[in-house]
Amino acid sequence: MGPLNFLALSSTLYSRSTLGRSTTWRKKFVLIAFFIFLFGLLSNFGYSQVYGTTTNKITVKVQTITIVQITGSIVNLTVSGTNAIAGQDQMIATDQSSTLLWGTNSSLKKVTVKTNLAAPKYTLQLVAVSPTVGTAASQVTLSTAASDLVTNIGRSSGSCGLLYTAIALASQGIGTDAHTITFTVSTQ
């Protein structure tokens, strides 16, 4: 029976009922009927009629995610007279304008660093400064072989400053070295 038919029947019953003749009882009957109607209506929405079912299997996979980037793309180190001390062959210039950022969801990771120059004229060293996660390795002299820069960075996002130190000997004369430094997040 649909809700409209129920209302029609309720109305007929009410009009023919000896109980419905007094005003108070009319009101009560209307109220009861209304709630019965309402219940029926809600039942239609809350408990929709089911005509059939099927299932779908969804598999969620999270793979190893690693990202590393640098703020400050080009570093220019110049060794000049301001870096020299009379009587000392060694001259040093430093730069700490770059920041290394990384993120990984895998444990046992580290950041390594290397240069593309196989035979640089001068010495270039690098050390991570104040890593927010992990342990900074000792200052490294950059070579074509990867060296540890920051270790124990598993499951984290972090950053550190990059302190470059250029060392030139006066006896080596003047010149330039152009490095491409590669930072890699790899398995520790």
């Binding site: 779908n56 598999t59 996979k61 793979q63 995610i65 690693t66 990202i67 590393v68 980037q69 640098i70 400050g72 793309s73 080009i74 570093v75 220019n76 180190l77 110049t78 060794v79 000049s80 007279g81 870096n83 020299a84 001390i85 009379a86 009587g87 000392q88 062959d89 001259m91 770059s98 290394l100 240069t115 640089p120 001068y122 270039l124 990059l162 470059y164 250029a166 030139a168 000997l169 006066a170 006896s171 080596q172 004369g173 003047i174 010149g175 330039t176 070295d177 152009a178 490095h179 491409t180 430094i181 590669t182 930072f183 890699t184 997040v185 790899s186």
Partner: protein, 181 residues
Amino acid sequence: MKKDVYLLIQYSKGLPMKKTTVVAFVLGSIIAVQAAFAQSTATQSVNLTVSTVYKISTSGNPAALTVTTGTAGTDALTSVSDNSTTYSITQNFGNTVKITANLDAALQAGYTLNLNLASSKGTSAGTVNISTATSGSALSVVTGINRGADAGQTISYTFSALASAGMLTSTTRTVTLTLTN
């Protein structure tokens, strides 16, 4: 990842339109996410330039040079010397660098100031009379200095005077050592 995507595409072919749309969205998201998190390396350019460097320093001023005695019958009074100061240099320019010396003002006739700079990186000119060497006529005291550094080399001053020049009240001269090519 490729197998998962294939299966997902095969699965979506049998679905009604709405569910196909959802699968396509999920598929696209997975591919996009895979592309975004594939960077495990980053590179940076570092240019190291060494420019020409000339550095020279001295360890301070020598003690006062005072002539106090002589020999009867001899005009040249007994000279005095000071070896208490040193100089240090660093240069990366080349192997023809030299050191010159000059005074801010020439000495009067009858007074002589000699200078001798030791060197292990170049050739010392020995004892050089700089009494009349002013800024426009500086004299070489060390030549042929090789690239590198030379530290703590002795500077020797010798001051002499003639009796005929008379007395000299305490006076100063500024000696300028110049490292140049």
